[in-house]
């Protein structure tokens, strides 16, 4: 056959036909062969799938994650009652009177909710100097207030009351429950879904409203690039523009230093972005703002002094100019030099003032967590401090927007202390820990978050105050949210749940479910059993798998809805657990679901599994700290062995006891699977593993 083909070809070529004809001929053969191959392959596939059909359920056996059975109906009811209590008492009051309301409620005899109340957000440390004076007159001047509610170990349940900006009934078709309410009452710990460009990708504002009862996040850099600031002004703040009745937080654009790290330069004045967008809008916006502020910072634009004041660390030179892709530029002024845009603390804050979110973030100098040069991190930390002062100065809407400062300092405790010492003295209403979750070792991450909220050990100004919002930036994995919550943080944000949804991955209690995998083809169960989101109610894993295999874009939307619902529901379960003082059980169940069942099911991969690394080099030298841990771990093992022996003697006793043993077994299994950094975290947070 092959010879035949060759012969044919040679005959054709000998006839001196034009080359194209020969090409056509051969390509035809090739395509035929390809087709045959495809056919064969297809047959193979079919065979495989038939085989799979028989062994399918055997092959893809799943272990179901544990449910949160330790939470009784009573627990849920109590928590819901509590949430309702705060809604009823704080949703419709004037923010001015919030202190009075709190005091009044505290003095009520049968009030059980405010016993843990430490002090309100601005009683002891609120506001800057001028506002301290105002405070004495009794009127609360800010738009945000945190009320401490409950603690379970170091985990805390807080209430954040934020004044609403949404003007309901302004042409909105949705009949929102929030109609008439003055404030959003947020229960923490809470995850804030991210709508980078002011909308969560693919969702209608109505869906966003139904999903996110509390707060969402948006980004100044992106917003000011794609919108005219006039839009926000005309629409009365971003909340009304996107028709979102609850709260909005805008990030300053500092994070883009990491996400767009190859396109930025850091100067003392601010960050220079080699813009990824058409710069028409952002330039117009900046001009618009600067035209209105007769501030000192005008000089940046007029006199072009930027290059003179370059920080010695920053290599700023011809390479910036060479990256400019817009040819029609004049290098007379810095800003108009191609697509380079300067985002200074002043500009960032003024932009955020115009966007009008409820919480705005200071511009910080974020460095990658992997930055090896400690000097650079030190510089960045101090620069963040200096920028914060400028941010506070240029913040013009203090009564309606709360400014959060950001703690920097990389993975260095000393620098973190210095950062906190400076920033907490600025007496802001909330503080964020930045620069984490950028690929650093989990052990380091735990040390930093443990340290920054360690109010019992650290001296004042070296931990985030109890009566202020604590926000960790860039946290989105379920386990990370759990860990941050047990260290007493309130707010988290990350694009992870929504982004991973667009990569066909669903969140579940035992890790992530990659619905594209063949194993879900015949899986007629919902994505997550008992999940109340409407995607899980209407669709099965098999139908989502089919939509993915058919490349139907609707899958992105469905999984986005599921993931946001899931992560917010997770936070809800966590809050109920904190409220009922069952955080130990909650942590154990979540860890067991992920580190034991999730690993078994192939849905969870343990990050930084230091135990595995140790197993391979078990006898190698260990540094002191780790060794301590190992010793303790060994001790645990021995104890367990003893216990096991004991149990074997009484194994034929009651059912309760076998249940007990089973739990003990599970905990042992869990402890074996947990990496050292996590065990350490549990110890720091004083969490006891138990079922």
């Amino acid at each position: 056959m092959e010879n035949d083909l060759v012969n044919k070809k040679s005959i054709v070529s000998s006839k001196n036909l034009p080359k194209s004809a020969i090409c056509l001929d051969t390509s035809f053969e090739e395509s035929n062969i390809k087709k045959k191959r495809k056919k064969n392959k297809k047959n193979d596939d079919e065979n495989i799938s038939n085989v799979n059909n028989d062994n399918y359920f055997e092959k893809y056996k799943h272990e179901e994650p544990m449910m949160f059975d330790f939470l009784t109906e009573q627990d849920y009811n109590n928590y819901n009652k509590c949430e309702l209590f705060f809604k009823n008492h704080f949703e419709n009051i004037d923010m001015k009177n919030i202190n009075e309301v709190v005091t009044k409620l505290r003095n009520e005899k049968d009030n059980i909710y405010l016993s843990n109340y430490v002090s309100s957000s601005s009683d002891s440390e609120g506001g800057d100097v001028t506002e301290c004076n105002d405070k004495r007159s009794g009127e609360y001047k800010k738009n945000l207030k945190l009320i401490n509610l409950n603690r379970s170990k170091r985990a805390r349940l807080n209430v954040i009351v934020i004044k609403k900006k949404y003007i309901s009934g302004s042409g909105s078709s949705s009949s929102s429950s929030s109609s008439g309410a003055h404030n959003t009452v947020i229960m923490t710990p809470i995850f804030m879904p991210v709508g980078t460009k002011s909308c969560i990708k693919g969702l209608l504002s109505e869906e966003v409203e139904n999903l996110c009862k509390y707060i969402i996040l948006s980004n100044t850099y992106h917003l000011s690039n794609i919108y005219d600031m006039d839009t926000f002004k005309k629409n009365k703040d971003i909340n009304n523009f996107i028709k979102f009745p609850n709260s909005v937080l805008t990030d300053s654009g500092g994070f883009q230093m990491v996400s767009l790290s190859k396109r930025i330069k850091i100067l003392e004045e601010g960050i220079v972005f080699n813009n990824i967008y058409d710069s028409y809008n952002i330039k117009k916006n900046i001009d618009y703002l600067m035209g209105r502020t007769t501030n000192h910072d005008m000089s940046i634009y007029d006199a072009n002094p930027v290059i003179d004041s370059i920080n010695s660390n920053v290599n700023f030179g011809t390479d910036t100019i060479s990256t400019v892709n817009n040819a029609s530029t004049t290098d007379k002024q810095y800003v108009s030099m191609g697509e380079d845009i300067l985002l200074s603390p002043e500009i960032s804050i003024r932009l955020q003032n115009y966007i009008g979110a409820d919480i705005i973030m200071a511009l910080d100098d974020v460095r990658s967590a992997l930055e090896p040069d400690i000097k650079k991190i030190e510089d960045a930390t101090y620069r963040t401090n200096r920028w914060l002062v400028r941010c506070i100065k240029s913040h013009q809407n203090k009564n309606n927007q709360t400014l959060f400062g950001i703690i920097q300092g990389g993975l260095n405790i000393n620098l973190r202390n210095k950062s906190m010492d400076f920033i907490i003295r600025q007496k802001l209403n909330g503080y964020a820990v930045g620069g984490l979750c950028g690929g650093e070792k989990k052990k380091k991450f735990i040390e930093i978050i443990h340290h920054c909220s360690n109010e019992k050990v650290n001296k004042k100004y070296n931990y985030l105050p109890i009566n202020k919002c604590r926000y960790i930036m860039g946290i989105g994995y379920i386990i990370d949210i759990l860990l941050c919550s047990i260290f007493g943080y309130d707010m988290f944000d990350c694009v992870y749940p929504t982004r991973t949804a667009r990569f066909n991955t669903a969140l579940s209690f035992d890790g992530t479910i990659k619905l594209k995998q063949a194993q879900y083809k015949y899986d007629f169960t919902p994505i997550v059993k008992h999940c109340k989101c409407y995607v899980c109610m209407k669709y099965t894993r098999a139908s989502i798998h089919m939509l993915i295999s058919k490349k139907n874009p609707i899958v992105n939307i469905l999984l986005t809805i599921h993931n946001i619902f899931f992560i917010l529901h997770f936070c809800y379960l966590m809050r109920v657990s904190i409220f009922s003082n069952k955080i130990d059980y909650f942590v154990t169940t979540v860890l067991y679901n992920n580190f034991v069942i999730g690993v078994k099911n192939g849905n969870y991969k343990i990050p930084d599994d230091d135990k595995k690394q140790l197993d391979t080099s078990y006898n190698q030298q260990l540094n002191g700290h780790d060794k301590e841990w190992l010793d303790e771990h060994d001790q645990l093992k021995i104890n367990e062995k003893k216990k096991k022996q004991n149990y074997q003697n009484i194994n034929n006793m009651t059912e309760q006891l076998t249940h007990c043993i089973e739990n003990e077994k599970k905990i042992k299994e869990l402890k074996n699977n947990l990496p050292f950094w996590l065990l350490q975290a549990l110890q720091y947070a004083n969490i006891e593993l138990k079922f």
């Binding site: 078709s173 693919g202 504002s205 015949y522 209407k538 099965t540 939509l547 874009p553 939307i557």
Partner: protein, 427 residues
């Protein structure tokens, strides 16, 4: 000779005409669905879907649209590969895809992506999915239908001749013969299956552009116990349209009055009206989907009670934009964007950047009530998923509204006004 008695169960749906004006049929189809409690108005359209879901829309967003047709159109090409899964699932494609309450009609091909010719044999027809060709014999076809459990399904048929410009009479005759053979075999298999008896087979009228064959196809198909008729292969470019419309009138004259007539591939409002005049009852709704995919919004007016000036105002708002309509036409002529019809506006155009009007003034769709043209433009430019969602919502609602308007006009003897209005916007 087959005895068809056992199929009576599947034919219990009833079409009753309230009025026939100039060939246009106004009426209701009753006793639809497995529970026999659905009704559908004619003339009407089906809900276009991609792999069983309305494009861009979740079940939840679909509920925000007014006037969604009771029956959705599934395409076998997109679902054929799911055969085994659905067989295993046992409860039918409707529940599988999260639309248990919708009536389902399963067509062979996707009207938006026509299939390549040359793959029909005496024994099988091929459909094309994302992964490639799926060859279907009668038995495989019926097995798939048994797994899908649609309310109606298009019978296996040879529709290739209408894709070609000029098919030989011999080929055309073959297509009719084959389609009738497929139909008989399908009916036989349906008779044997209890599950399939709950579904209704829609017979397909083939015959290309040959009058004689079209008539034969219609007469022969009408003799068989089908639930309705699909008029296949009448779509085409404007030059062939006139001759095909002529064929259409002759074909519908041969069909029994009490069974619905569906047509494939016809979507433009002006063409829809022409087909309704020739006795067609049901259309697909791929047209609003195509408009959405090219970043367009349907803006044509179908309010036959408005005077012409109000219509222009409703559509365009300002004088400036009326000028712009001419621009679109120019674009059409130059061929940069051949597809864009005069029934829509292209929101990707920069002129909409600061247009804070709704897509269509007075439109009651979710998109027009909540968002502006500028916002949609921005979503399109930044490639947000939401652009497709919002445009699809508007375009569907607009298109469904158009069909509602046709029925109202028929009821009130105002179809001439509506036709005139659509005709004016057509060129």
């Amino acid at each position: 000779i087959v005895c068809w008695q056992d199929l009576e169960e599947s034919l219990r749906m009833k079409l009753s005409l309230t009025k026939v004006v100039n060939g246009c049929r106004l009426g209701k189809i009753k006793n639809l669905g497995k529970t026999r409690d659905h009704t559908m108005d004619i003339p009407g359209c089906l809900l276009y879907t991609k792999t069983g879901s309305a494009p861009h829309l979740t079940h939840h967003t679909l509920r925000n649209i007014h006037g969604v047709p009771a029956m959705a159109q599934l395409t076998l090409s997109s679902l054929a590969e799911q055969h085994e899964v659905l067989t295993e699932y046992k409860e039918g494609v409707g529940k599988f895809i999260g639309m248990p309450e919708s009536l389902l009609y399963c067509s062979l091909h996707d009207p938006v992506s026509p299939c390549p010719a040359g793959y029909v044999t005496n024994k099988s027809v091929s459909v094309w999915s994302v992964a490639g060709r799926v060859e279907m014999t009668v038995s495989k076809f019926m097995a798939i239908q048994q797994a899908l459990q649609p309310d109606w399904f298009q019978c296996l048929s040879d529709g290739e001749v209408s894709c070609k410009e000029a098919a030989s009479i011999k080929r055309v005759r073959k297509s009719v013969d084959r389609s009738l053979l497929f139909l008989d075999n399908c009916l036989r298999l349906q008779e044997e299956s209890e599950v399939l008896q709950k579904s209704v087979i829609i017979g397909v009228i083939e015959g290309g552009d040959v009058m004689e064959e079209r008539l034969r196809s219609a007469r022969e198909t009408a003799k068989r116990p089908v639930g309705g008729f699909l008029l296949d292969g009448f779509q085409g470019n404007p030059t062939t349209l006139e001759t095909r419309l002529c064929l259409l009138s002759s074909v519908t004259a041969e069909l029994p009055e009490d069974k619905p007539r569906l047509i494939s591939g016809i979507g433009r409002p002006d063409e829809v009206l022409k087909c309704i005049e020739r006795g067609v009852d049901l259309f697909e709704s791929f047209f609003p989907y195509q408009v959405t995919e090219r970043g367009g919004a349907l803006t044509f007016s179908f309010d036959y009670q408005l005077n012409p000036e109000d219509i222009l105002l409703q559509q365009n708002g300002t004088q400036e934009e009326i000028k712009y309509v001419d621009q679109i036409k120019k674009v059409e002529v130059t061929g940069c964007n051949q597809e864009i019809t005069s029934f829509e506006i292209n929101l990707k155009e920069k002129m909409y950047q600061e247009d804070f009007n709704p897509l269509v003034r007075g439109c009651s769709c979710y998109c027009c009530k909540n968002h502006t043209r500028a916002y949609i433009h921005h979503l399109l430019v930044t490639n947000e998923l939401l652009a497709g969602v919002l445009l699809m919502m508007h375009n569907f609602e607009h298109y469904f509204g158009f069909f509602h308007s046709i029925r109202e006009a028929l009821k009130n003897d105002k179809l001439a006004q509506l036709k005139e209005l659509i005709h004016r916007q057509a060129s």
